[in-house]
């Protein structure tokens, strides 16, 4: 996983799996890097190949973190398989998704 900051936005990228095995660590890393002054989180899904229900929970947790600062949370470029999981669980309604 890679993180970068620009224009008060924390961008998360290069993550291939977000599962029960990786969700806790991802949430922990995002909390550490979402430092004061940053107001939004972009989760770049370009490389995300697999997402399970625990990974969905991690995304909701990260979204809450952004909302706590009145910031935005966006999912960028999710693949069709990821979109299918989001739609099946109807979370596509609560995430801002940028294709």
């Amino acid at each position: 996983m890679k993180t970068s900051t620009a224009n008060s936005i924390l961008t998360i990228s290069s993550l291939r799996e977000l599962t029960a095995g990786t969700a806790a660590e991802v949430k922990n890393q995002v909390r550490l890097r979402f430092t004061p002054g940053l107001t939004a989180i972009d989760f770049d899904c370009t490389d995300l190949e697999f997402l399970d229900s625990s990974g969905l929970g991690a995304l909701i947790s990260i979204q809450k973190l952004a909302h706590e600062r009145q910031g935005l949370f966006r999912l960028l470029s999710p693949r069709p398989g990821i979109m299918q999981v989001l739609e099946l669980t109807r979370l596509h309604r609560i995430f801002e998704i940028v294709a």
Binding site: T19, A20, G21, D52, S54, T89, R90, L91, I94
Partner: protein, 586 residues
């Protein structure tokens, strides 16, 4: 009975009459959960299931089922393995997840939690993504069974990955094939030998064997070309028109230039059996005799992209070597026949040339003549001619056409005919030579040849000899005392100038005058027989011998002895033709 504890995952598959089974077993942790999910995905893909959505769904289902097993494992209990058993039936895929945890109560109808809940969606996903599911809690084991409808993919599933037993079997198959190819090669040699005897032409032989080669190498098409007259010439083809290319000219050129086999490799094309389409697989094999390219064999398969195996390539090489030897053998036989024909033609030409030599002439007006002509080869460019003239004496010609062999002999015959045809000029050698030079110039010039000629008219009634010399050796006229007159060449040979003028030398005849005209073979140092070192030696010899007043025939015999001519049994061959003519006036 529960399975034994396992720290490492393992998996395997089997096939039965009712379906295909896959078993995975591993430790109860989240890392193993992912391994089980990707393992099931790979297994399904290996069975020909290529639908990405189907594969991703099963990966997600195993992940959710495994997560639950890990989540509900008792922290205090000894870690125990869990396993996944997948079955592919004709109409469905069924996966059973066995764990040894405390388990949980499976809700009848799982619902999505609150939108912002961070958990609780796993069972909903399992429920939504399966057509049937059941959860059985046993005292020491829980079994979650998941099913989805399944439509067999087309084309049929590929065989499972080879296990060690299959690998061993494959190795044995390869060894068997190798032995079979050796047998095929030996068989091919015997077959080729038999074919060779039955085929009258190389093309017929090649076509028979190419057909055999195409069959034993399981090819669909083949071509065979050999080098004839320095060009690669199509000799036989099977499955395509003669002259067509199984591969491409570029590939054939690459094979010839590299002197190595080139492999035909093409992607499948829409019309696999069309002769116009390139072969999917095959081989281009050039064969050589030393550094000389002898030919090219191309074999192709339209129906399969499988390349020729080592055994089949070996048969191709055996075939090529056999054809190579056959071609060389036939080439040598043809060369021997051609040489025999040429030798026969040569002998015939020599007979004709010999028949053109003057027959023994009776004396005319007290002048007798004798001559000799021996060619370095069977035929040559020297000749002499003597023609009686109205009881006055003889007209004579001696000539040496540049070069030896057939070309020189033909021009000698032409020159002889020209002189014979100008009967009215025989009394005037200079005019005769001038006319002959004019008539023959174009022919000699075109052939870049020339002929030296000495022409004379011996008129014993008026007691005068007239001689014209066009680039020829001196003509020696000796009297009975051994005094000599040498008529030297005063003009270039015939063929050098288009219309030259010639002078003639007039020499009175006295009793005992002897005349010797000869060609330069008598003084050629390359001849390995005793000869004269230079023209003055010939003149000295002539002066000596004429003092005894020999006849023309005597001089001829003496000169032949001096030259150790081919009449001697062990006389070595000449390097240059030897010809001379003797006239005696009494």
């Amino acid at each position: 009975m529960p399975p034994p504890p396992a720290q490492h995952a393992s998996q395997g598959s089997s096939r039965s009459t009712t379906g295909i089974a896959w078993l995975w077993n591993g430790p109860c942790n989240l890392h193993a959960v992912r391994e089980a999910g990707t393992g099931l995905r790979s297994f399904l893909a290996s069975q020909g299931i290529s639908d990405e959505q189907e594969l991703a769904t099963w990966e997600l289902l195993i992940s959710e089922a495994g997560n639950n097993a890990v989540e509900y494992a008792s922290p205090s209990a000894t870690p125990r393995s869990w396993d996944v058993r997948a079955f592919i039936f004709p109409d469905k895929i069924s996966v059973a997840v066995h764990d040894h945890t405390d388990g949980f109560e499976w809700p009848d109808s799982p619902q999505l939690p609150d939108d912002y809940a961070e958990s609780g969606r796993g069972l909903f996903l399992i429920h939504s993504l399966t057509s049937h599911r059941s959860y059985l809690r046993l005292p020491h084991e829980n079994i979650l069974t998941l099913e989805r409808p399944f439509s067999p993919p087309t084309p049929p599933p590929t065989p499972p990955p080879p296990d060690p037993a299959h690998s061993l079997e494959a190795t044995l198959d390869g060894m068997t094939e190798e032995l079979a190819s050796c047998y095929e090669s030996l068989s091919a040699i015997f077959h080729f030998t038999a074919e060779s005897r039955q085929s009258s032409t190389l093309a017929e032989f090649a076509e028979r064997l190419l057909r055999h080669l195409v069959t034993v190498t399981r090819s669909d098409t083949g071509t065979l070309s050999i080098v004839a007259n320095s060009e690669l010439t199509p000799l036989a083809s099977i499955g395509c028109p003669l002259g067509a290319s199984v591969s491409s000219p570029d590939l054939e050129n690459a094979a010839i230039l590299s002197r190595q086999d080139q492999w035909i490799e093409h992607p499948p094309h829409p019309h696999p059996s069309s002769p116009d389409s390139p072969a999917l697989a095959g081989l281009v094999h050039p064969f050589y005799s030393g550094d000389e390219l002898m030919g090219l064999i191309s074999l192709g398969r339209y129906s399969s992209p499988t390349p020729l195996n080592a055994g089949e390539v070996s048969i191709v090489h055996t075939f090529a070597e056999f054809l190579n030897q056959e071609a060389l053998s036939r080439r040598h036989a043809e060369a021997a026949i051609a040489a025999s024909v040429a030798r026969r033609e040569f002998e015939l030409a020599a007979t004709i040339q010999k028949s053109l030599e003057p027959r023994a002439q009776a004396p005319v007006a007290g002048v007798s003549a004798a001559g000799h002509c021996e060619s370095a080869l069977t035929i040559g460019g020297d000749f002499y001619d003597i023609i009686p003239w109205n009881n006055m004496g003889f007209f004579f010609v001696i000539a040496d056409v540049m070069g030896k062999g057939v070309a020189a002999s033909m021009m000698a015959a032409v020159t002889r005919s020209v002189f014979r045809s100008m009967h009215e000029l025989h009394q005037s050698p200079a005019r005769a030579v001038a006319r002959a030079a004019s008539q023959l110039y174009d022919d000699f010039d075109r052939l870049e040849m020339f002929v030296t000629v000495a022409v004379g008219f011996v008129d014993n009634r008026s007691r005068l000899i007239r001689i014209a010399n066009a680039g020829h050796c001196p003509v020696i006229v000796a009297d009975a005392s051994g005094n000599l007159v040498e008529v030297m060449p005063s003009h270039p040979p015939i063929g050098i100038l288009r219309s030259p003028d010639f002078d003639e030398t007039g020499i009175p005849i006295t009793k005992g005058t002897r005349i010797l005209a000869y060609t330069d073979g008598l003084t050629d140092p390359r001849n390995s027989r005793p000869s004269f070192s230079e023209p003055s030696d010939v003149s000295s010899w002539m002066a000596d011998i004429c003092r005894s007043q020999p006849s023309a025939a005597d001089i001829r015999e003496q000169l032949l002895k001096r030259l150790a001519s081919s009449s001697a049994p062990d006389a070595p061959a000449l390097a240059d033709d030897q010809t001379f003519l003797v006239l005696a006036c009494d």
